[in-house]
Amino acid sequence: MTSGIAFFAYNTEQIDYIRLACIAGRYAKRHMPDQPVCLITDSGTWDWFSKGPYADHAEQAFDDVVIAAADARANKRTHWDSPYHSFASDFKNGNKHKVFSYTPYDQTLLLDIDYVMMNDSLKWVFESDMPVAMYHQAEDLIRQPMPLPQQHLSTHGIPMVWSTAVYFDKRHELTKLFFDVWEHVGDHYDFYKFLYGFPGTMYRTDYCVSIANHILNGMGHGELINDLGVPMINMSQHDDIAKINSVDEWVFTVNDRKENWEDTLALIKRENVHVMNKRSLDRHYDTIMGALDG
């Protein structure tokens, strides 16, 4: 039996995903040293990074590298860096469900590259006999529930399940079924968009897993897809990293949802956090790596 942590990283013109994956990978190794870390990337991204000035960072962060081409479907995402700046970028998440075949491990914790683990509170998943688990709830940096569109797929729709962190065990029969349903929903995304009434044009894997969970639960509520137990802490793209106090202690500015000119500060200390503002993470890359090197 093997187990480990996996990250997808497909660079785009706007975002250096593999650089951010180095941060998340180092944090994973820091807090779960027993688990190997796998990077799933395409040959272009890997060639570019492995010949660049940060190549040794990848060696420190990843034990295994799997080369797999990204899905070809066009998917544009508008990213925000504070409430005052936005940019559009390709978002290559179409093959995320294929982690089932890409991963070299029996038990895998798939994390987004902007999910930073500042503690080992997820290590219990590797000792469980769950087939699949994800976060069922999320809160912002000041521990308020997420805005309503991010709690349900539509106003009276099914509850959101977050694909930011996906634990699965390939040895369970149900796991393959779950990933097959995820793929099916992705293949018929427009139909399910109409059926479940979720907004936007961007392909979101959160919607796919939420619908797969709903279908496999007999079109009802249930915990076939296990909950990771506590709410995920989610930074908004309007928030920013203000200061890296130390390796496991970051200060954020939290933008007021209603009054965008107002910010408050929030301290995240030894907690796992989904750093949605990728530019802010990139801006602090050297400081974070310096803190990790101690």
Binding site: S121, W124, E127, S128, D129, M130, E139, I142, R143, E223, D227, G229, V230, P231, K243, N245, E249, V251, V254, T264, L265, A266, L267, I268, K269, R270, E271
Partner: protein, 115 residues
């Protein structure tokens, strides 16, 4: 602006930051008291700890407990489970207490953020 209002608004912002920190510490405490045992999810709260202690005192070595997701979980070794619960509880309360005391001494936002 009226100086009194100016001071009040500055204090108000400080209070908001302190309240966010307090809530964050409370959440961190709650996370630390989560105990995963034999595929069940429990909380190291007074009720669970007291119940397990009572079962042991009554001579039980194993029992079925209902976890926080309402699943029946077989606890084969209550004594071992009790130690796990107590360890989680003490670790969480010690950190919570230290952090709250530190926060109580923070007289401005910079100190509250360990800036």
């Amino acid at each position: 602006m009226d100086e009194r209002l100016d001071k009040a608004l500055a204090f108000s912002k400080y209070r908001v930051s302190i309240e966010h920190r307090r809530k964050a510490k409370q959440r961190r405490f709650e996370t630390m008291t989560v105990v995963h045992y034999n595929n069940g999810m429990f909380r190291a709260d007074p009720q669970t700890m007291t119940f397990v202690t009572a079962l042991i005192a009554d001579g039980h070595q194993n029992a079925i407990l209902i976890d926080t997701k309402s699943n029946p979980i077989e606890i084969m070794n209550l004594q071992e489970f009790k130690v796990t619960l107590f360890n989680a509880y003490f670790e969480a309360t010690n950190e919570y207490s230290t952090e709250i005391k530190k926060l109580a001494k923070a007289r401005d936002v910079r100190k509250a953020m360990d800036w």
